[in-house]
Symmetry: C2
Subunit: 304 residues, 2 copies
C-alpha cells in the first residue's frame, strides 16, 4: 500500500516510522498534530542529500577553479594549502579540517559579484563530471532523499537545507535538483560589502568566511534564518548532531535521522574514518538519544 | 474591472502601474515575463506595513518592558538612555538615531531564550493598546498593504519583510497579520550562543545587536537570507533607499515604491522631520530614479 510513496525506500522499519510520523502530525484529531506553520524540516546537504565522496562537491568545484587560478598566479603552486589542492594530494588534504577547507574555498571563490559567482558555478555544473561515477553533478543527488523532500512538501512541510557547504554555491542548483528555493538554503557564508557605481549599489563578495555553518552554528543559523525549531531533521555526520539534538529537544512529536554510509558497492562505506566530516559521536549516541540510523545499504533500493 | 483587486487602493496611476507590472511579468508570451522562482518581493515593515507613529511598535513594546525592568533595577531611572524612555521624554528620544534605539532595544529585550522572548512579545500583543488609535497592535497594519502582499502571493511571488525592526520580534506576529512565515522575515538580529543542558542544546540570546538591518545592510541581508535580487520593493524611508536602488539595478522589469505619509487625518503626515527614520533623500531622488511615490492620502481609500 505504501509502495507508491517513497518508492526508492525499502519497506523497512525506518520507512514505516517516517510515514507514521507524517501521518500522525497531519491528523487534526491526533494529539500529535502539528499546524502547517510549524512543519519545518531541515536537511544537511553533503553526504545527506548528495554524495560527498571522494570529496564534497564544492571542493571538486574549487579544485577545478584553482587550476585556472594557479595559471594566473604560478607562485600558488608551491605554497600550502594550494599546493596540496593543485596536486590533488589526497593524503595532505585529508589532514585539513572542514573549517580549514571552507576557509580555503572562500579564498578560491574569487568572483567579485554574486552574478559572476553564480555564472562560474553554473558553468561548472554544466560541464563537470564526477571523478568516480562519471555522471553530471546534477545527478549526484540521492534519489530517496529527493522523494522524501517532495513527500514532506506534499504534506505541507517547509523543507530547508542547513549545510556546512557554501550558501550561494548550493543556491545555484537547489531549486533544480531538490525543489528548494534559494531563501530556504542555509549554509556557510562569506562576508559581503556594498559599493556604489553612481547611485547603483553593488554587492561585493569578500574572500573571507563569515559564518561557518557547522555543529552548534547550525542551530544559531536555524534561529537566524528560520526563527522556529524544526520538527524533522536529517544529517549524516557529527557536524549535524547539534541540529538533530536541537530538533529532538522540542515539545511534541519530532523525528531525527542519520544516514550511515555503509554501501561500498553502490556508493562508499565510511564513517569515523572520513576526516573532513567524520561520523562517530552521533552514531555512538544515536540509539540512546532517539536518532534513527538509516542504512544506505538496507533502507534504500536506489541510491542515485 | 479592477475594483475587486486591491479594493483599499484608489483607482489611481499607482494602482494601475502595480497591476500592469504584475500582468506583464506573469505573461509567458511577454518579453517581461519573470519565472516564478525569481518573483521576489521585499517590504520594509515600520511605516510601510504598519504604523510607526508616534514610535515604532517595537519601541512601544520596549517602553512597557522597561517600566517593569526599572522596578527591578531602580538605578535605571536616573541614567540615560533609560531615563528618557521611562519618562517617555519624547523630545530626548527624538534625538536618538535608529541604531541607538535598536541597541537600546536589544538591551531591554532581556529574555534569555527564544521561547521566553516569544512569550513576552505575544503577551504584549494580546494586551497592549495603541496610544493614539486605541486599537490592538494586531490592527495597526495598513490594509492596502495586506491586500497587496496577498495579491502578489496569488501571482506566485514570494513576499519578504526586510526591516530595521527586530527579526524575532516581527516573527511572533508576521504569519498572523501579514501571512508571511517566520523564515521570510529579515530584520535586525541579536547575537546568540549555544549552551548545553546535558546533551540538549539551548539557544541563548545575548543582549547585543548583531546585524542592524538598515540602509546598505538591507542589501547584504537580502543576499544572505534570500540569495536573489528582488524584482519588487516597497519602503517608506531613507533606510530603504539602498534596497529600492538594488532592486531597480537588476535586469528586466522591476518596480520600486515608497509610501509618503501625507495623511494627517487618517494617520500622520511626516517625512524628513521624523528623526528616528527620516524620508528625505529617497523622496528627492524618487522621480529621477524611477521610484513610485505612493500618497497615503490620495492612493489609499482605507488605511487600517
Amino acid at each position: 500500500m505504501t509502495n507508491n510513496i517513497l518508492p526508492s525506500w525499502n519497506d523497512t522499519e525506518i520507512k514505516r516510522s517516517v510515514l507514521k510520523f507524517i501521518e500522525r502530525i497531519s491528523d487534526k484529531d491526533s494529539e500529535d498534530f502539528i499546524p502547517e506553520e510549524n512543519r519545518i524540516a531541515v536537511f544537511d546537504n553533503d553526504g545527506t542529500l548528495w554524495t560527498e565522496q571522494p570529496f564534497p562537491v564544492q571542493l571538486l568545484f574549487a579544485l577545478d577553479r584553482i587550476k585556472e587560478l594557479a595559471e594566473l598566479n604560478p607562485e600558488m603552486k608551491n605554497s600550502q594549502p594550494f599546493k596540496a589542492f593543485i596536486e590533488k594530494d589526497i593524503k595532505t588534504i585529508s589532514t585539513f579540517s572542514k573549517k580549514d577547507i571552507m576557509t580555503f574555498l572562500f579564498k578560491t571563490h574569487d568572483a567579485k559579484t554574486p552574478e559572476e559567482f553564480e555564472s562560474n558555478v553554473k558553468h561548472w555544473f554544466e560541464n563537470a563530471v564526477h571523478p568516480r561515477f562519471k555522471f553530471s553533478f546534477y545527478d549526484s543527488v540521492f534519489k530517496p532523499q529527493v522523494e522524501l523532500l517532495q513527500y514532506l512538501r506534499e504534506n505541507d512541510f517547509k523543507t530547508f537545507i542547513v549545510s556546512g557547504g557554501g550558501i550561494n554555491f548550493m543556491r545555484v542548483v537547489s531549486e533544480k535538483i531538490y525543489g528548494i528555493s534559494s531563501d530556504r538554503v542555509i549554509g556557510s557564508s562569506g562576508k559581503t560589502k556594498i559599493e556604489y557605481e553612481g547611485s547603483k549599489p553593488l554587492i561585493t563578495r569578500l574572500p573571507e568566511l563569515g559564518s561557518f555553518d557547522d555543529r552548534e552554528e547550525k542551530v544559531n543559523n536555524i534561529y537566524l534564518h528560520i526563527g522556529k525549531r524544526p520538527v524533522f531533521a536529517f544529517g549524516n555526520s557529527d557536524g549535524d548532531l547539534a541540529m538533530l539534538r536541537y530538533t529532538l529537544a522540542g515539545e511534541g512529536l519530532k523525528m531525527a535521522l542519520l544516514i550511515h554510509h555503509d554501501d561500498s558497492e553502490r556508493e562508499v562505506a565510511y564513517d569515523k574514518d572520513f576526516k573532513i566530516s567524520p561520523l562517530k559521536e552521533a552514531l555512538d549516541v544515536a540509539e540512546a538519544e532517539g536518532i534513527n540510523v538509516v542504512s544506505m545499504k538496507n533502507d534504500w533500493n536506489k541510491v542515485f
